[in-house]
């Protein structure tokens, strides 16, 4: 089956005062048409840089996509000119950022910020694009959209602002929506409303979503497939069901063990000891070896490839050694 998005060996580096840091390191994954894929990992593991790389919005300098390829329906995004890329951004691939207040321009009305994207990509006049923007506000369930069109971002609540961001992202019916921690900055009760809205709109508009989060429960609610990212690359990939029932990588096991559960009485939530390694100073061999509870001699010697652990289930760990992907 042809994939909507195919990312191969993506490598994104940042020039820092201490040297070249590889935020994303030979990362490969794909997303099918209409599919929702969860990209899960701790802060600093390269999730957001991956998102910005797909949009080609990594700020250069200091960042740079130094290798790999990104195909959208067979078209290599990394070979496009900046002008061609601008036709993709906001039109075929759209993004919702984590922080809705700082992501909206404070001096323009919310409606104007949505209208602008519509007028740009759909070649509509002012009146027509304004009507479409009001329509989008209604679609994301903002009450009284005709008047809310003229509200400034600071006049709206956090949840409303994120709805505006979603309306903006979806205004040109993108094929792929990248949702970069869309609910993290919001109150818990608002979080689930936003996730529900996203999943309703996905079904209505039959788009694909790359859902970036550090919260496995959000993934369980929405995604079909999960990629666990660690220190710039994928360490495990599986269907949502399998990740929860049969995790293959010790890091995934650690993440699952740190989720509080109602039905199990535990004295203390387990944590993964240590921190995400410094990209300037990755451990030799497996990048999780310094924190792994199951590490062996060979883990320090050589980095494991992705092994096949089942149908559509891949694990980057020597313990799952077998057929390589």
């Amino acid at each position: 089956m042809d994939k909507l998005l195919k990312v191969e060996n993506l490598t994104t580096e940042f020039l820092t005062s201490e040297g070249l840091a590889r935020a994303v390191d030979r990362f490969s994954f794909d997303i099918g048409h209409g599919e929702t894929v969860g990209l899960v990992g701790e802060s600093g593991c390269g999730k957001s840089v991956t998102a910005l790389s797909i949009m080609r919005l990594v700020s250069d300098p200091p960042g740079r996509i130094s290798g790999g390829s990104i195909f959208l329906e067979g078209k290599d995004l990394l070979s496009l000119t900046e002008k061609e890329m601008r036709k993709i951004r906001g039109n075929e691939i759209a993004i919702v950022f984590q922080e809705p207040l700082s992501s909206l321009n404070p001096v323009f009305t919310c409606g104007e910020q949505i209208r602008e994207a519509i007028a740009l990509h759909q070649k509509m006049g002012r009146k027509q694009s304004r009507e479409k923007a009001v329509e989008m506000l209604r679609l994301v369930k903002i009450p009284d959209p005709g008047n809310r069109y003229f509200s400034y971002p600071h006049q709206m609540s956090g949840g409303m602002r994120q709805r505006v961001m979603i309306a903006m992202a979806l205004s040109c019916q993108p094929k792929l929506l990248i949702a970069d921690e869309p609910s993290t900055a919001l109150d818990v009760s608002v979080q689930s409303q936003i996730m529900e809205l996203l999943s309703d709109l996905r079904d209505a508009m039959s788009m694909s979503i790359l859902l970036i989060t550090h919260d496995l429960s959000v993934v369980a609610q929405m995604a079909e497939r999960v990629i666990i990212m660690y220190a710039g690359t994928a360490v495990e990939e599986a269907s949502v069901k399998e990740i929860f029932s049969d995790p293959g990588h010790p890091y995934t096991e650690g993440l699952l063990a740190s989720i509080p559960r109602l039905n199990a009485r535990v004295e203390r939530l387990s944590v993964i000891p240590g921190n995400v390694p410094d990209p300037l100073n990755l451990p030799s061999g497996c990048r999780f070896s310094d924190r792994c509870p199951k590490r062996e001699e060979r883990c320090f010697a050589k980095e494991p490839p992705m092994f096949v652990a089942g149908k559509g289930h891949f694990v980057r760990c020597w313990l799952s050694e077998g057929q390589e992907r």
Binding site: L57, I88, R89, G90, A94, F97, S103, V107, L120, Y152
Partner: protein, 326 residues
Amino acid sequence: MTRFVAERLLQSVILVLIVLTITFFLMHLSPGDPMSRYDDPNISPETVRLIREQLGLDKPVPEQYMRWMASFLRGDFGVSLRFNRPVSSLLAEAIPNTLRLTIAALTLYIVIGVILGLLSAVRRYSLFDRLSTIAALFVYSIPSFWLALMLILLFSLKFEILPSSHMQSMGVSGMGWLARFSDRIAHLVLPAFVLGVASAAGMARYMRGSMLDVLREDYIRTARAKGLSERSVFLKHAFRNAAIPIVTIIGLSLPFLLGGAVIIEKIFSWPGMGALMVDSIFARDYPVVLAVNFVVTVMVILGNLAADIGYALLDPRIASGRKAGK
């Protein structure tokens, strides 16, 4: 907004009265006497005493203050001790001249400053940015009176392409309007440039810094993620935000511009308020000094008020913040 402006104007009235009172007493505290011009062996001390009595200068200072304030509040600025003419007619000549000079300088200041700052920010660390940084620092460090003299030396004396003083050439009234107009512009070039360009250098630095700050904001990334061109990102999304602090800086720079005009007008023999002020101070021409001071104070206050209004117009958070607070 109307209420905001009304409040500010009311505060301003009080401020003006305080400024004038301080000026009045400072003038009388400083040594010197308006009568010293009559130190002439041909004028008898008796005549001088009579003139002094006539002008009310023999009264105690508090009484002079009360008298002056009373007539000022009635809108009467009194009579110049030096020219024996109503102060208001002196002002009527000087104010338009100063406005012409300061508005030209202000325009240069804003246009040059904003454009250089924007270009520097857009091409950060480029050769252009580095050169404009050095040039800005250089111009900023030059005392304006020295720059004025050097430019006169160069353009008026060596190349003889620009006039060095006054607002127009002699015998210009017989010429056609176009010749008169270009003559006026030629006279305006040097003083407006000297007055405007030093501040423009500072403005370019502020504009660059403000723009670079804004370009780091998340909403700039959002604008790019929408697929907007760099041009729209800079000129629509970034510039409007970056302009907010700049409006305040322009408002705050008005006193410096008007203060600078005092020196520049003297150097270029420009018949404006600055020159009038300096000459009147030396002659202890109290009514004129007070009147000029009044006009400058009002201009500075109005400039700041305009800056605050501009600020509220550019930043919707300010305007509605006031609404919510009331």
